[in-house]
């Protein structure tokens, strides 16, 4: 199927926070109750619609275990969006966010959109991290924030779609250089290079660039 844009995402965060489950819920609408430790990376894809435009999401789900950290770092470059996930029932996963964020900022494209996700919101009784804390962290570091449940699917769609919308807006504003695929954005086949005239930073010129 043809698409207007293709966005590359990565999902990062400590092991066991539910990254793979989020991806599975988003691509297959299923929940996987057993922890199937990710080795290296896993890949998934899905089409969404924003502003009536088809957008293809390619999502790389990374391994949260410390041992795979250096491999995970290889995926920062080249991603347009990142879901940074912690588990609301495990404070340590929240405490590690700073490290994750530093790592991401160091190795990624500065325009990468990062969405902070507090997962397992269905486990209210075992909550260790207040929603307000997540919000505060996000505000402090300029991230978008959401609580989700990969189990009940609450907010899962929204998390992926809102991230895409954010990226889409940045494109409209001309922040992203859409002609450099290394940024994790690719123009779809239906997007003829008619608007391939805006080099990076040319903010004003790209308005209304996507005219199909």
């Amino acid at each position: 199927m043809s698409y207007a844009y293709l966005f590359k995402y990565i999902i990062i965060g400590d092991t066991g926070v539910g990254k793979s489950c989020l991806l599975l819920q988003f691509t297959d609408k299923r929940f996987q109750p057993v922890h199937d430790l990710t080795i290296g990376v896993e890949f998934g894809a899905r089409m969404i619609t924003i502003d009536g435009k088809q957008i293809k999401l390619q999502i790389w789900d990374t391994a949260g275990q410390e041992a795979f950290r250096s491999i995970t770092r290889s995926y920062y470059r080249g991603a347009a969006g990142a879901l940074l996930v912690y588990d609301i029932t495990r404070r340590d996963t929240f405490n590690h966010l700073t490290t994750w964020l530093e790592d991401a900022r160091q190795h990624s494209n500065s325009n990468m959109v990062i969405m902070l996700i507090g997962n397992k919101s269905d486990l209210e009784s075992r909550r260790e991290v207040k929603k307000e804390e997540g919000e505060a962290f996000a505000r402090e570091h300029g991230l978008v924030f959401m609580e989700t449940s990969a189990k009940t699917a609450a907010n899962v769609e929204e998390a992926f779609i809102n991230t895409a919308r954010e990226i889409y807006e940045k494109i409209q504003e001309g922040v992203f250089d859409i002609n450099n695929e290394a940024n994790g954005i690719k123009l779809g086949p239906q997007h003829l290079p008619s608007n391939a005239n805006t080099p990076s930073g040319g903010a004003s010129a790209s308005q209304g660039g996507s005219c199909c």
Binding site: R73, S74, G78
Partner: protein
Amino acid sequence: MDYFFGFKSVISQPDAEPSPADTVLRLVERVTSSTLLEDRRDACRAIKALSKKYRLEVGAHGLDALIAVLVSDPDLETSSFVLETLCNVTSSEVFDEEGVGAPVGEQFTEIFLKKPENVISVITLLDEYDFHVRLPAIRLLMNLLNNKSKEMQEIILACPMGVAKLIDILSDSRDFVRNEALLLLIQLTKSNANIQNIIAYERGFDQLFKVVASEGYSDGGIVVDDSLQLMLNLLKRNASNQTVFREESCMKEITPFFRSCQPSESDPGHSWSTQKISNVHSMLQVVRTLVSPANATQVVSPAQKNVFGCGLLSELCALLMSPGVPADILSEIICTVGESIRGCRRNQEFFGQVMASSSPPRTALIVLLMSMVNEKQPVPLRAAVLYCFECFLYKNDVSQGQIIQALLPTSTEAMQNISAGQLLCGGLFSTDCLSHWLSSVALSHALVGNSNNKELLLRVHLAIAKDVAPVSLLQQAFNILQMGGKLQTRLGILTLLSTWLADSSNSVAQFLKLQNAIAFLTALVASNEHDDQEVLVQSLCAFLLGLCVVYNNDSNSNFSKESLCQLITKRIGVETFVDKLAEIAKHEVYSKALKHPQIRINTAADIQFDHEFCRLYKALENVIAKAVAPPTSPKGAESPSESELKAVAKYKDVIREQDGQIQHLRQRLAALEGDHIAAQSKIEELNVNLHHLQDQNTLLKAQRNNNVIIDESEPSSQSESSTEKLMKELEALRLDNERLQGQLEQQQSAKDLAMPVNGGIGLAVEFASTQSASIMDSFTTHEDVQVCSFFRPESSANTVDLELKTVRSRLDAMETELAETKHCLSVSIAENAELKEEIERVKKDQEDLLVLLADQDGKVQKYKDRLKTLGQTVSDDEDDELDDLGEDDEELSS
């Protein structure tokens, strides 16, 4: 011993020229301590010039200094010199200039890799666009990878953006740089899924297709093949990357590649170059990797849709029918088409309608089948056609039906056009035994899982000669079998008959009506011939006979289920029957055929089982064995334990597998013991070397003592200080020697430690295997019990249950055993590795020692010369170590 060779050559160096070691040392000194950039650079250049001929010296004395330069962010020229030097030092090739020498590239690689930062420095230098730097940096990484693949892969993975930087070079506009990077990436991606995934993530496929296109697709040079090799590395056994490949719509990039294979209008008869053949072959492998039946279905079917959707299938089919394609490529295309349509209805339909440009017009399928039954065509090609035909019929009851329908007398169409079925029947009656096998198997695929077709085929009659009345195909097939003939013929017919009778009681009933059928089969199974081929035929006959029992509807009172069982018991004996039945599974091609549907034969004499037949056999072997057991009340025989039998069979498989594992572990153990012995002899050798060194040392000491006496007789401050230096060095040398000895001792004790462990493993393996044997025994008993239990159906379920439990627990015990063995083995492997390391270290020390000795010798000589200049005569017996040169000197001075 090579070391001594080197040693002597150092000694005999004419004294006007300093030894290479000295020269290198001097240059290294300049590199490390000179304050002038120019001077350091010149020294690096000079070292580079020496680094082929005196690789050992440069590596031994200069490696650290060179690495230090590399890390210190040097200027372009210096970087280039250093990188090229390191390339030479780590190269696995032996340079002409070097003369004979032990390959030392790997050792220097090891030293270089001790610090991962060193590799990171090289990767950082890749940022430099100048090819004088970039190119040797790539080559150096390549050398390191060639020598220490695993270690390098891990280091590069751990290096931030390491893989990414290498991929970036793929878009270097200078071909010679890009090509070099391509080779590096091929090496880097070998069996490392993590690296493969990162490359796919970094749009590796995209880049590679760009290279392929820019080089002219199939007509391009070796770079095209290299790109495709890398692509294959990324895709093989990597489901995630296969998905990425599909998601990035890469399949459509393949279509123009095959379009470029079509003969050009201007030069239609042009034959393919070797490069083109290998390019196309590689691209076909890429396609097959994506649609291979070995992949999971959820990966294969979207890939197949993709092959169709982007016009690749039609391009491949066009190529199939176009002239001038070399035969081996044609076979590969046929297999690729086959796998692209296998089990995918839409693709199968498309393929069924592809027309060949022949007159009269025929479908491609018919043309291919004509080649299959044509004795003159190459065997691999004929096998490929059968495979493709099987893929065409796989899960395709419509086409299966059409094949059979066309053979029925009612069919009017059959009169005009030759049909696939007719070709196959024709093949059955040709004179070529491979045609018999191929045609029978092909025909059997029209029957797989299709009971309707099995009945329809019963109605097919054939007239072989004009004046003879038509005979049923079933009868004819049996006649061919009865006539004996070649092995291939009989295996083929038996495959066809087995597929036909399985799960079709009408077919069985018809078969039983054939005169002599049962008598013939019984006689064969009962026969005592032990020839390998004959045993195989007997086994298939037993299978066929068994099918007659299992799918018997008792319509024929002469050959009811019960009477057949009695016949088997009386004429063959149940045990013999079951043994014969089991022979098929023991044949080496059986398990291969079971694993993969592709038919792989290269000559007409190669034996091959059909994949579907093997599956059928696997599913029914146990059912038959059970059915022919001594007569029981029919109800009782059915009720106890279809599922339990299956369970037992499963456990049997597990045990077989574990047996295999034990076997494997034993082999490993043997190999390790071999290593151990090798290590020991290495130690011995080193010991001898050490003694030699000690002798040398004593000799030198003696010399020194002589010299000291001379010094005393005529003291001179200059010579005194040099004597002192000499003594110090000798002292150091002695210390080194002691250290070496200590290490050797340590090693010796380490080795002693390792010994009992090895013994322990032997025991464990022994134990595990007796364990396995006893479980096997218990199975045999278990089966006996089960056979008996058919007489007492009411209690059988319980007994079997109990048995199962015992078996299960034994299995568990055995698994623990196996785990223990594995553990022991890994301990021993570790021990061995330690030993090896020890040896490595001793070797290194020894090298150092040698270098020191060489220096030492140079100094002694110099010192002696100095003495001479000071007017002291040096008598012959004082320096018997000195060579002719010394004697010359003496003559001069006298």
